[in-house]
Symmetry: C2
Subunit: 226 residues, 2 copies
DNA sequence: CCTACCGATCGGTAGG
DNA sequence: CCTACCGATCGGTAGG
């Protein structure tokens, strides 16, 4: 029996990662969700192995150390965040629509539990803000990039004439993201179901207050959930 | 030799807590700071005992379980928060001065490192938002009270005629606190030294935008640190 | 408040 | 990818 019947036809090989890489990826998907629920420190190799029905050492062979596992988990979370929040928003037309899409998708990724425990990076930020080392640096790097994506969207909205130019882009990006973090906080701690629509409303109100007459209408608030 | 020379004069007794209670309090002061740095789960009995140069079991005798230790730590943090942030602000005159004092003192308690790792409750909120049990409930309770103190201050500022009555008090309280959390986040993750003065500026700008002409001037921004 | 323990779990290794 | 380990530390207990 040729090997092809066991592993699929040869021409499919390039669509399949090597087995080790696939295992590693499935480990990291579970790791991201576990870490979002119990923290990156609370992500223990034993718990993770149990969840995956693997032996500890079998799992551990994919990573050199716990720190490597944490780094790989952060990287996987970053990729998921980019795919779910940033990429679809950047596909929207420049200006206010794209800026609003970034905000809306962010709230949406918490509401839809893209990460089981809410926003992976918000939790990780507060968990690692008093520490040092490569894990904290990667978290900070991802958040720096996110803020710069947001503030660049503000800048472009200004260049499109959708937003008043009096506003400092970095500052508005920060204000918007603070409201987003706040709605995550309120939902997580109080189980407030309206936290997300309230958060969207407040961000929208802030954007509307700074919009020009050239700005296309923004009325996606409280859109029905799929 | 009478006992009084060893324990102080009898009339001083009511000013001194029993020894056990004093030890317990000094344990909790260290516990609050350790937990603010490493999380309430990262607060282990061994680390705490080491920090206090006590034996694990000697320390543990003051608490029935780790959960009891966590609950007592949250309660101690709550008391410190009330004393440092809420009480001084409530001493300010009703209306905008008191509302601003609440905001300013909150930012100040992070900036002055009243808790070694920043705001105890912000970190604890994000650490426990996916869990259940009495520890999470106490954290949520403390934050519910804090938000209600803030929104009551907004309401009174409206009754004083300092703030426009069109604003929803709970919503404004939430917006203000989101900006405060955001400035904490930016300082903690990026080491941004201007995060606090930026946070104060943004909160002030929001309050000024909603203030009436009757409102007393607000110009405490960037006041020199002692 | 201590010493001396307990079983469980931690991150990590040896050897296959 | 596994079994079988390692020393260290976890929360917690017995007994004083």
């Amino acid at each position: 029996m040729p090997a092809a019947t066991l592993t699929g036809p040869p021409w499919a090989a390039k669509f399949r990662a090597p087995k080790g890489a696939r295992t590693r990826e499935s480990i990291l998907h579970v790791a991201v969700n576990l870490a979002s629920l119990e923290g990156l420190q609370g992500l223990t190799i034993g718990r993770l192995a149990e969840e995956l029905k693997m032996s500890k050492s079998g799992l551990f062979a994919h990573f050199g150390s716990k720190e490597d596992l944490q780094l790989a988990t952060v990287e996987m979370a970053r990729q998921i965040f980019v795919e779910y929040v940033i990429r679809p928003a950047l596909a929207e037309p420049e200006g206010m629509p794209r800026l609003w899409a970034l905000c809306d998708r962010w709230v949406d990724h918490v509401e839809s539990r893209v990460f089981a425990g809410g926003c992976f990076f918000t939790a990780a930020s507060f968990e690692f803000d008093s520490r040092s080392g490569p894990v904290r640096d990667r978290i900070a790097g991802a958040m720096r990039t996110w803020l710069s994506v947001l503030s660049e969207a503000v800048e472009r909205a200004q260049k499109c004439g959708h937003l008043k130019t009096a506003v400092n882009p970095e500052q508005l990006a920060f204000e918007i993201y603070s409201l987003a973090i706040g709605s995550h906080w309120a939902h997580g701690l109080f189980g407030d179901r309206k936290a997300f629509s309230n958060g969207r409303s407040m961000i929208l109100a802030r954007l509307r207050a700074l919009a020009t007459s050239k700005c296309p209408p923004l009325c996606k608030i409280d859109r029905p959930r799929v």
